[in-house]
Symmetry: D2
Subunit: 345 residues, 4 copies
C-alpha cells in the first residue's frame, strides 16, 4: 500500500483527492492537513464522507507529511510549496504539487506573473511538468511533480498537436476559456458567493491571468520557438468544468487530413484523451479524468478552431495528480480514475 | 456474467442504469432499447459514453429482451409494463420494473390514482416491492421486482421506524418533499425547459401526486393499520436529489431515546442508510446510493421532524434497481454501488 | 421630495432599496451607509448603477442619517437598531427597520429566540408591525416601522384568513418554506459560496428558526389565542424567491366556500395580493412586490394546504419597506412598486 | 395612444415585449397572437400577468394585426416575415421584425446562411437595420425595421468604433460570445431541457452560426471594406445575458488614446451604451436595455480585447424593438426602457 498525504485537504481540489484516494485500491490515506479546520475530523467538514474518511485534520506541516507518507499531495496557494519543499524531503517522499510553484522552468517568468519571489529556484530542475500525455517519460523518474493548472491542461492539450506539427501561425493563437466556479477555490470571497455568480457570465484576468505563461511555455517547447498568445478566462455559473475555445490561423496549404494526422499521432493510445466527433460539452467529462477534444478548419476565415473540455477538478487538478502518482509509483495509470461521467450529474 | 437488458435506456433513469452496469464487474449489457432513438448508437445519444457503450438501440421489445438477457430493467411510462410482462417471460428472465405498475398491491388503488386500467392483476402477487432495507427477504426469491418511486423511497425510509414502532400519531403525517428536475424525465415538455425551471421553486401535484398511495401502502403495512397522509412534492432548480421533510405528532411520552432506538433497530447494518448527525443536504448523497436520515423531536410543537436525502436517480431509481439485481442474483448487494458523493459534483 | 437614507446599503436588501428608490419619483437618496465599503462610491461596489447612483458610502451612523433624511431605512444585523434608535431621532425622522429588533412585541420572546438582550424595550410600544395588508391603519400614524421578515411575510399572508376566521385547528399548523440564497445575505460565509449552494437542497434551522415567534405572534393576534406552530426553512439554489407551503387541519364542516370567503374578505382590494388560480411559482413574483396565494382543501386528509410565493427581497424586504414608506408619508402605496415580474428574469 | 400588436407573443422575446409594452404609457396592446396557444388568454400561459394582460391570443395573422395596430412586432421563426409582409400592409402599419428576414441587405447571403429562399427581396430596400446607436437617422423615416439579432447587437456595438476608425486589422477579428438559454427560444427541444443545459457549458454552431453574416455586413459598412470574421457562440446555464469577447490585432502605432477617442466619438450621448470602467458582467445589464462595453489593448500580443454585455431579451431583442418603436413614432427613445438592473435578479 502506498501511504498518501494531502496538504490543503479541505479545499475543492484537496477534497477531490480524498474522494479519489479513498477508492484507490493501492493507497492508504495517512495524513490530511487543513489550515482552516485543523483539529476537526475531515468528515465533520464534509459530512458526505462520514464513515469513509474520519481522519483528524492536521496542520499543513510538510515535514510531518513527508515523514508519514510515500506521496504527498500539496494543494496550497502559490508561494508555499517553493518555500517549504527541500531536497531532503524528496529523499523521503514524492511530492505532487497542485500549485504553480514548480510549473514554470524560468523563475523570472514566475516572479513576473505571480509577483512574488520564488522560494527555491534550485528545485525547478528537479521537477517534471506533470502532463502525462506529453511528458510521461520525464515524469516517470521524478520525485517532484508540478501538476499543471486547470486552464493550462485544457489549453495545452487542445493546441499541442497543431504547434508541434507546425500547422498554425503561432502569433495568432487566442484561447478563450471558461470555467466552473470551483476553480475559484473554497475561500470566502464576495465574488464567489452564490448570488454573485449565479445568473451571470463574465470575463476576468483579461491579458493578465497567471496561467498564460504556463501555456506559452509548454507550447513554445512543442513548437521549438517562443510563443506569445492571448488567453482569456471566463466564469460560468456551474460547479465544475472547463471549456477552452482555441483559435489560430492555419499555415497555407494545411488540409483537414494534416490536422487529423497531427491529433492522431499525438494522442493515439491515450486513454484519457477522446477525439470526439461532436462538439464537447463540459458535462460529458464531468466527474471523469477525460479530456474531450474537437477541431474544425474554417476555410472562410483561415482559422482552425479547437474545443477542449475537461473537469477542472479532475483532469484539471486532482485526477491528473492521481494519474501522476500512478505513473511515478509504477501503478496502472488509470487506477482509481475510471469513473465515467453521468448524463445529469 | 449476468446478461442485462434495459428498456427505456435513453431516459435519465435508463442512462444512469447504463452508467452503473458498464462498471459492474459481473454484468454484461446485451440489449438496450429506446423508443425515441431506435437504430442509433447509445453513444450518439450520449456522447460521453463514446467507446464505453456503443450498442445500437433496439425497439422497446420486452419479448426480445427477455430472450437475450438474464435481467431486464424496464424504465418506461406507467401502463406499459403491466400490459407486456407475462408469466412466460418471467420463466426466462428476471424483470426489475422501475415504473409504477407492480408497486401497488391493490389494483383498485392503482386504477384510481393512475387513471388507467391495470393490465395484469394476476402478476401483482408475484412481484416484490423492491425496497431492500425493508423487504430484503421477500425480494430474494422473486423474479419480478417493483422498484420503488423516488419520492417514496425517501419518504418511506424516513418514516418507517416511527410507524413500525408506533411512536407517532399516524393521522398527522405530512411529507413535504422536493426533487431535482431529472425526476421529471427527459420528455420534451415546456415545463421542463431550462428557463422555466431555473431560478424558480414551486409545488405541484398538491394532494394528487401518484406517489402518495405507494407511501401509504408501505407505511400502513409497517404500522399494521391504514394510514392516510399528506404528500406535497416541489420542483428544485437542480439536476438531482430529493429531500423529504416529514412531520408527525409524536405519541405522548415518547422520548429521544425511543426514537433513536427505533431508527437504530431498523437500520443497523444497513450500508446504504446513514443516520447522520448534521442535517442532510442532497449534495451529500449526489451520485451515490446512500439515504441520509436525520430526526429531531420538537417539544414546543409536539412534532417529530425527519429529514431524508437521496439521489433520485440512484437510491431513487437506478441505484436501487441495481441493488435489487444484486440481491436476486446473489451478488454482493453493494456491487457497482460504492461511488462516493463528491463535494461539488 | 422625501429625503431618504439607507444604512446597510450594500447588502442585498439595501441594494434593492437603492434600486427602488432611484426610480421613485418622490424620493431623493441623500445618505447611503455601508460598514464594509465606507468611503467608496456605491457604484464602485455595484457597477450596474454607474451613473445612476454614485453617492459615496458613509459610515452606519444613524444620528447623521436622522439629521439628513426624512426616512431612514435600516438594513442591519439584529441588535444594532434597538441599541441605536432613540426617541429623539424619531422626532426628526421616520425609521423603517428591516431587521428584527422591533418586530416582536414581547422583548422576552426576542431575547429567547435571538439570544441577546433587547436594547430598547420602551420603543417597542412605538413601533408598528409593517405588514400593510393586515396593519395598515396602525402603520399610518407611526414613525417607527418594524418591517416584517421574508419568511414571515409569506407565512402570515398565507395563513391569516384561516386563523382569523377560525377555520383551522391552530395546533396543527406546519409551515414548510423555501428561500432563494439572497435571503442568507451578502456576508462571506462558506455556506453561501456558489459551489456549496448550487445543485443542492437542504433544510436548516429546524425547530429553531428566528422567524417562528414572529409568525406565531401575528397569527395569535389574528386568532385571538396563542398559537404554537412548526416552521421549517429550506435553501434553494436560486437567487430570489420564497415559497411557503402551509398545512393545517380544517375545522369539521368547513367548506370550500368558507375558505374562499375568508380569503376574499381579508384581501379584497389588496393590490399586492393575488389569489391565483394556478399553483404559485416564485418566478411569477420575481422582481415584483406581489404575494401570490393559492389554497386547496384535501378531504382525504382533512388538511388545508396553502401556497404563498413572494420575492424575498421585494415583498419580503425592500419592496415592503417602500410600501411602508409610501403609507407613512401619505403617498400612493404602489408608488415605485409597479414592476411586473418577467417570464425568465 | 399607439396601438401595438405582437405576433409570437408567447415566445420569450414576445413575452418580454408584453412586459415592456404593458408599462409603456403611450402604448395600448390590442392584438396578441400565438401559434401554440391560440384561443387561450395570455395570462393563462403566463400566470404572472394575471390582471395585467388578459387578452385572448389570436392566430398569427399579420393582415389582421396590420388592420388593428399602428405598430406590429413580429417575433417569429425565419422565413415567415418575408413571406407575409406586403407593401400594402406597410401603408397601414409599421412593422418591427425581430426575426432575420430583413436584416441582410443581400438576399443571396440570406439564402446561403439560412438555407431557404427569401420571400420578398423587393422589401429589403424598404427596411432599416434597427440598431439605433448606429443607424438612428435611417430608422427614423422607415415603416419596416429589421431588429438586429442578440449576438449581433453585442458584437457590432463592441467592434464598431474600432473598424469605423480603422484601428484594427479586420482580417483578424474573432468574436467569442456566450448566451443565456432564453436565446434558444421556448421551443420544446431536448437540448433546451433543464438537465441538459444546467451544469454544462458548450460551444455550438462553430463557423456556421447565422448571426455571422449580419455582423460582417454591419462592420463591413462601418469599415468601408469587406470583412470576414470568426464568430463562435456558447451556451451558458443561465436564463439571460450575452457576453461577447472580441479580439483583433491593432494597427501598428495605435495608442490607448486613439481607442478611447474612437469609442467616445461613436457613443457620446448614447444613453443605452455604457463605457464601463470595470469588466462587464451580464448581471450588470440584466433586465435593462443597456450595453456595457469595456476594452483593453494588450501590448504583449498586439490584440485589442473588447468585452460587451447585454441582456439578450432586452437590448438583444424586445428592448431594442421598443427603442425602435419609440424612434419611428417620435416618442422619447428611452420610454418604457428605464428599468435598472438588479443586483441579484
Amino acid at each position: 500500500m502506498i501511504k498518501a498525504a494531502i496538504l490543503g485537504a479541505t479545499g475543492y481540489a484537496g477534497c477531490e483527492l480524498v474522494r479519489l484516494l479513498i477508492s484507490h485500491k493501492d493507497v492508504e490515506l495517512v495524513y490530511l492537513a487543513s489550515h482552516s479546520y485543523e483539529g476537526r475530523k475531515f468528515s465533520e467538514v464534509y459530512p458526505m464522507y462520514q464513515g469513509h474518511c474520519d481522519l483528524t485534520l492536521m496542520s499543513d506541516d510538510l515535514a510531518a507529511a513527508s515523514d508519514a507518507a510515500d506521496v504527498v499531495f500539496m494543494a496550497l496557494p502559490a508561494g508555499i510549496a517553493s518555500a517549504s519543499v527541500t531536497e531532503d524531503m524528496l529523499k523521503k517522499t514524492c511530492i505532487i504539487d497542485l500549485g504553480a510553484d514548480f510549473r514554470l522552468h524560468d523563475a523570472g517568468v514566475y516572479e513576473k506573473w505571480y509577483r512574488m519571489e520564488h522560494g527555491n529556484k534550485e528545485l525547478l530542475k528537479k521537477a517534471a511538468y506533470g502532463l502525462p500525455e506529453i511528458h510521461r517519460d520525464s515524469i516517470r523518474g521524478k520525485r517532484l511533480i508540478a501538476n499543471p493548472g486547470c486552464y493550462t491542461t485544457a489549453s495545452i492539450l487542445a493546441l499541442y498537436p497543431l504547434v508541434r506539427h507546425h500547422l498554425v501561425d503561432t502569433s495568432t493563437i487566442i484561447i478563450d476559456a471558461a470555467s466552473g466556479t470551483s476553480g475559484a477555490g473554497r475561500g470566502n470571497k464576495t465574488s464567489s458567493l452564490f448570488c454573485e455568480v449565479n445568473e451571470s457570465f463574465k470575463a476576468y484576468g483579461v491579458s493578465t491571468h497567471r496561467h498564460t505563461p504556463e501555456i506559452e511555455q509548454e507550447l513554445s517547447i512543442a513548437a521549438g520557438s517562443d510563443i506569445v498568445l492571448q488567453f482569456t478566462p471566463h466564469l460560468v455559473p456551474m460547479n465544475r468544468g472547463i471549456l477552452a475555445t482555441c483559435y489560430a490561423k492555419y499555415v497555407k496549404g494545411v488540409s483537414d487530413e494534416d490536422i487529423k494526422a497531427a491529433y492522431d499521432e499525438c494522442y493515439a493510445g491515450e486513454y484519457f484523451i477522446r477525439l470526439v466527433s461532436s462538439m464537447p460539452e463540459t458535462r460529458n467529462v464531468r466527474g471523469s479524468n477525460f479530456a474531450d477534444i474537437w477541431y474544425r478548419r474554417d476555410e472562410r476565415t483561415g482559422n482552425i478552431i479547437v474545443l477542449s473540455a475537461i473537469d477542472n477538478l479532475m483532469k484539471g487538478a486532482a485526477g491528473q495528480a492521481v494519474q501522476n502518482m500512478n505513473i511515478i509509483t509504477g501503478l496502472d495509470e488509470k487506477c482509481a480514475l475510471e469513473h465515467l461521467p453521468s448524463c445529469t450529474m
